[in-house]
Symmetry: C2
Subunit: 344 residues, 2 copies
DNA sequence: TTGAAAGCGCTAACAG
DNA sequence: CTGTTAGCGCTTTCAA
């Protein structure tokens, strides 16, 4: 005698059980008893019936009727990347607090997929969208902003006056990191960059140049290598740079994955850190302190990134207007450990 | 002249534009033209109208009507934990391939929150649910299974004949790790356990005992400490064990977070790894190989965990029946590096 | 080959 | 204080 796929209880059944009309039942259960001056007897009987039948209203039907889905959409380049995962978490928690649910999708670092996912999410009538753009295309995003759908961009933004964006202060971070290297006496510094032409990468490059300029030291762009934020790119770029320019004394990796690759390449080339090579990386990591050479790094406040984004989205939904500030910069923090050696 | 929140185009408008009825429009666009023998002229005019108006059907309305939401729900104890994030990713990708969307939620390692989130998801008429249970309560899960809603448990399962579960082979992994320690001459081995009474923890403990029994060596349960899978627990447990039983020569951490804590505690107590203390951990990590003492570990195939779970869910949805096998065990892999020293 | 109409489950305007 | 009715946007009988 196994109970099979019993259809969920509907409001209609609750109303019938309580001996009232559909609308009364609806009102009693959605806290509008007061407003409609429903007798407390009636209200109670409806509530009791609902409890007895284990009624759970169909959010689907409610959404269709009210045109409010209480749904957010998120598009991330890679959910498994701890950086994006941390962002997703803060958003999910903020959503839960506000009785929203979150559709999380993975664009696999692919712009076309991103466009497709955004469409998919729109078809589900989401009330707000947060995307960490891959960074290649952006018309689909400006279009959404134009349609007044609350939208927040995180990490990789665009310079567009109607796009609300929250990113780390990449420029200041890179400037500080480079300054540290320069002050430690390094002059030939290899840059392991990430995905070119994305905002974080571009701004970090700017920061690097600024630091050089500030000290009146010439910067050689030939010392930039790499094309992604992943381990492979770091490995290849470090290998290339270290072979072609053995005079390099320090490496600045634009992500901890890049740093990992650099570590591997340096190991293979027999260069010990920090003795034979200094290393600094963007993105801190719990393990960074326990590495053979505890890694000095620029720490992004990832949780803050997510939290601010979620709040900006919630704000837009509540007020129906864009926030005053469009570009939000979250400060970064230099974590000085032992992977940099003073020279010269 | 800024375009304001223009309401989305409905099928009705498309039908009107194409000069056909609502039903014809619906049929033409949902690939049922053949079945209904709609003239290709009509079909084309509908498609053209839809394209011109940029029509995107409301999945909400479609879901309500068809009673199929194409929605999955996921509940994770902590989205930001790379382990769960990796699982989430595989599920999301599988979902995307099958035109499903995924509602991802975070229970914050809290059973009551988990119960609440599951209810919330059910109210959204999800077609399938994957949960990594906190592990304390389970009635809400057996109830769901009884209602025949496709459900898959990942990582922390329960021994229940109707619950489809996929976990790593914790027992074999712990057995192998312990065996390695024993064969390296260690006899006094401290166990840094995770959350007690969860399936992974319990099974790992069983594996440890089995390894001891196999070699006819007595195991002292007093050498077990810890109460969580996090860094703090590892730190405290390691500190306690190492102080109370200085004769300990090796530590087996039940998670990489626990291992991190152990690393910190060992450092503070002046015990170098591997010279003064051997260490092995459950859960591999990209950085593990680059630690001061490259960490030997038991590697779970997390992607596989997620992928198998997603497939099992998809299978249930398609067939409408539970899979033959209820308990799925994913093999683990021993990554031997340099954190264990041979002694005795 | 196409259209009219019912209805998924809910909310809200209108009517007592 | 409560009920009747319309309708959110779509799919799918039933009818022609």
């Amino acid at each position: 005698m196994s109970k099979s796929t019993s259809k969920p209880i509907t409001l209609k059944q609750v109303a019938a059980a309580a001996g009232v009309s559909l609308s009364t039942a609806s009102r009693a259960l959605s806290g509008k008893a007061e407003a409609y001056r429903i007798s407390s007897t009636t209200e109670k009987s409806v509530r009791d019936a609902a409890k007895k039948l284990q009624f759970s209203p169909s959010l689907l039907a409610r959404s269709l009727r009210s045109q409010r889905t209480k749904l957010w959409g998120i598009v991330l380049p890679n959910i498994a990347n701890p950086f994006f995962a941390a962002i997703a978490r803060e958003i999910a928690l903020t959503a839960e607090e506000n009785a929203f649910s979150v559709l999380i999708t993975d664009s696999q670092e692919n712009s076309e997929t991103e466009v497709h996912l955004v469409e998919q999410l729109l078809a589900r009538q989401i009330e707000g969208l947060i995307v960490c753009p891959v960074g290649i295309r952006n018309q689909h995003l400006t279009k959404i902003a134009k349609q007044k759908l609350p939208l927040v961009l995180v990490d990789r933004g665009f310079d567009h006056k109607d796009l609300v964006t929250v990113t780390s202060d990449h420029r200041a971070g890179a400037r500080a990191a480079t300054k540290l290297l320069l002050e430690s006496g390094h002059r030939t510094i290899g840059i392991l960059q990430g995905l070119p032409d994305t905002l974080p990468n571009t701004e970090r490059l700017v920061g690097v140049r600024e630091a050089f300029a500030l000290q009146n030291i010439a910067f050689d762009p030939a010392l930039i290598a790499g094309n992604h934020f992943d381990e492979t790119s770091g490995y290849q770029a470090a290998g290339k740079l270290l072979s072609e320019y053995p005079e390099i004394t320090a490496l600045f990796a634009f992500s901890n994955q890049n740093a990992l690759g650099a570590l591997r390449a340096a190991g293979e080339l027999g260069r010990k850190i920090p003795d034979d090579l200094s290393l600094i990386a963007f993105d801190d990591h719990p393990f960074a302190a326990y590495l053979a050479a505890p890694l000095t790094s620029v720490n992004q406040d990832v949780s803050q990134l997510g939290r601010v984004a979620a709040r900006l989205l919630m704000g837009q939904i509540k007020t129906g207007a864009l926030p005053e500030e469009r570009q939000h910069r979250i400060p970064v923090q230099l974590m000085i450990r032992a992977s940099i050696m003073k020279i010269g």
